[in-house]
Symmetry: C2
Subunit: 459 residues, 2 copies
């Protein structure tokens, strides 16, 4: 069997930034690295083309009576900029104090390596394991899994008869506390550009005569929140479901401290709607967030212009039962209505994700029709986690979005068991991303044993 | 004598961007190009060091009883970006349809070349001309003439006994109508940075818990104007002087059309405080303008982060009798007071300019103590313009800022005759800057004859 840490380093050296066409070579390298490993542990590998980045499908077939698990992961990573804030090169993995630093170490290359290793070890120990496994590793998660849904539609045969999805692309609060994520926020991503004059203008000769697009866009952005931290759009909260008592209890068991959280983030205070803690707000409430704003001169010194245009990148996080389609329509119409007369507006739709919620077995709101294999997998995960981590897992909703989870649900009616493997200080989507190698090791043991018990429901 | 067009091309090939240290070589090249020309027409040349870019001083001494004229210009230019919007390379001058296209062609390399040529021709025609001339050509006009004031303080001997300043760094509305600029707006330039978390954060995991610096900065910016287009700061308009009837009359004589102006700018409508035309607002009213806004991810696609910080570049244009010192203090205090609790603010002072106003002779508000040489120069300029351009000049305030004009006034008590030489479509500070060569030619004739009459007050 391969050494997971060495293989992970090799994998991380491929700069697989899906958002930027300049990284096509890195995407190919990362893909072939995963494909090679799947081959090594006995899987039939196929690179299924999509409109952008291919999906890696690795299959271990078997008797149709065996349970069938889909293991999901993604081989793409976020852009690494701002590069100057990295202590070590983002695509040259550096091991330090039991952690591995590189872009994608935690999101999602390390966790995927844990699944690959667990499966490899399991099959090495029991070559005849009665379990069908399909790896589906996409390359567009960081850009919203744009083509994964059509992959699911066009290639549903490759995932046919699956019982549930198993994956690790979520977090845990500390190295001792496993969290099974049962809810994910959805997303709407778009860009708004306002423009006025046909070119940048001298701010002396023309300043005072026309509306500056930065001003107009700032005023538009300023209109999108109320002073108490809510999103200021009519009907935005209409479909937000109530939080269940067992959910609040689980969150309280986490024992999170606002003071520690503020210190960790480096902020002096929180900014949440009344009646919510920051831990609740990030899980149970939708948001409208400005991810980037650019207009005019941003170089050194000054340039006294009225820019011709200004752009803002906006993303909304949605919670059940909000839907991207319905909200987008409202949102875009409202934004258009708030543009000052005479300015031109261009809204560029980027990507969406539907929010997701799976209720574990034996809860007051567990659906009556939950499948037996899924319920059993939840129960055995609970038991294995207790053994490997020394503590029961918690079942929590999380603030992030994994749109394909909702797609797997809507297209194939599959729920997922989301075993968290990254820590708060792993710096996802930020400089100095890292992954804890002892977590990876415990993750491998957990995944291996959960899969073994899935194959052997009676012990 | 040299050919002004060929010399101008040579001069324009030096990329003298004063704002960016990367262009040090271009600054040196432009400086030596001007120095060489001054030497060629018989001037003693000196490069007077300042804290940043040296001032070129060219002197033609003479009998102390002769009038002494200072000719001002600047050899630095604005940055050329966005480069992709130029039709021809910004530092490879291209002649087309009687115009020369390059960064700095109009601001200020072409107009300065007109002065150099006029003086060269005048001295060639009359080597014993009874006129002292001092060229003072600085390299920091585009970054606010940061060190010109201390140059004036430390080297007042070089400009001693001067009667007035003669320059062309202002515009005219069309090729037939000369305008003598009698007022300039002042300026305050600064940058505001707001920051919150210690690094960019994942907008899923943390979105909804903290104030996004882009949001905070957008809300701050949105608070700086009233809906009717005024600057929303207490006391901002306190020191703004009333416009004189003769000023309004002169402006009306320009016969400007709002419809043409809107078409020229490419805007659908104007945005001016009630009671002002766009032509008045840009001349008689102060502004607060956003020159650049940057924060978060601005690359291709999306990056779902809450950025750690956001920055805005702001410039205010001031009018008489506002003063940068007094307004800055108010402005910064007010801006600080509008930052949401917990966010860190950093205000970086960039540069200032005091507004300027000179009243031509024989007006209701001409100062009683106006010097006779200045009044005479105004009158002879009026006559020469009528002859060369076939129409009387207009005397107008202009929206731009030439801070050193106010410095020459405050340090050496010198007023200036500002002979406009660039046209509205010369694209100053914008892509595809150009300069009309027939204007240059008429400018040369005008300057030559005004200087001749200054030397020979009695004909």
């Amino acid at each position: 069997m391969f050494d997971p840490v060495e293989k992970l380093k090799e994998y991380l050296r491929h700069p697989s930034v899906s958002a930027d066409p300049a990284f096509a070579e890195g995407m190919k390298g990362a893909r072939e690295c995963v494909g090679g490993l799947l081959g090594e542990i006995g899987f039939a590998v196929e690179y299924v083309p999509t409109e952008l980045h291919p999906v890696i499908v690795g299959k271990r077939e078997g008797d149709p009576s065996w349970p069938h698990v889909i293991i999901y992961g993604h081989y793409d990573v976020q852009p690494a900029d701002p590069l100057e804030l990295w202590d070590t090169p983002p695509f040259e993995p550096t091991e330090k104090d039991g952690r591995l630093y590189a872009r994608g170490a935690a999101d999602n290359k390390g966790p995927l390596m844990a699944h690959l290793t667990a499966v490899g070890r399991l099959l090495e120990a029991e070559p005849d394991l009665p379990l069908r496994i399909t790896f589906a590793i996409e390359g567009e998660e960081e850009i919203g899994s744009q083509n994964f849904k059509s992959f699911l539609q066009q290639h549903s045969d490759k995932l046919a008869g699956a019982n549930f999805v198993f994956l690790s692309d979520t977090g845990i609060p500390n190295p001792d506390q496993m969290v099974i994520t049962v809810g994910l926020r959805g997303m709407i991503c778009f860009e708004v550009e306002l423009s006025n004059a046909r070119m940048d203008l001298h701010s002396g000769m023309y300043g005072g005569a026309i509306m500056n697009p930065i001003q107009a866009l700032a005023e538009l952005c300023a209109s999108l929140h109320t002073p108490d931290g809510k999103v200021n759009l009519p009907g935005f909260y209409d479909d937000v479901i109530d939080v269940q008592p067992w959910e609040r209890e689980q969150l309280q068991k986490l024992g999170l401290s606002e003071e520690d959280f503020a210190k960790f983030l480096g902020v002096e205070n929180f900014h949440v709607p009344p009646g919510y803690t920051p831990f609740e707000a990030t899980r149970y409430l939708p948001t409208l967030e400005f991810n980037g704003f650019g207009g005019g001169y941003q170089g050194e010194g000054s340039k006294t212009i009225i820019p011709s245009s200004a752009r803002v990148k906006i993303s909304c996080r949605l919670v059940p039962d909000q839907t991207p389609e319905k909200l987008k329509e409202k949102l875009y119409a409202e934004i258009r209505s708030r543009v000052p007369a005479g300015l031109k507006i261009k809204i560029t739709d980027q990507h969406d994700a539907t929010p997701y919620l799976v209720v574990p077995p034996d809860r007051n709101n567990t659906p009556k029709d939950q499948s037996e294999v899924l319920a059993r997998a939840f129960r055995s995960t609970h038991g294995v986690v207790k053994e490997v981590w020394g503590r029961e897992p918690l079942y929590l909703r999380e603030g992030g979005s994994v749109g394909l989870i909702a797609d797997l649900k809507s297209e194939l009616n599959l729920d997922a068991i989301l075993l968290g493997l990254f820590l708060p200080d792993d710096n996802l989507h930020a400089p100095n991303e890292g992954f804890d190698l002892s977590i990876m090791s415990k993750g491998i043991d957990t995944i291996q044993e959960v899969l073994r018990r899935t194959a052997h429901p009676d012990g």
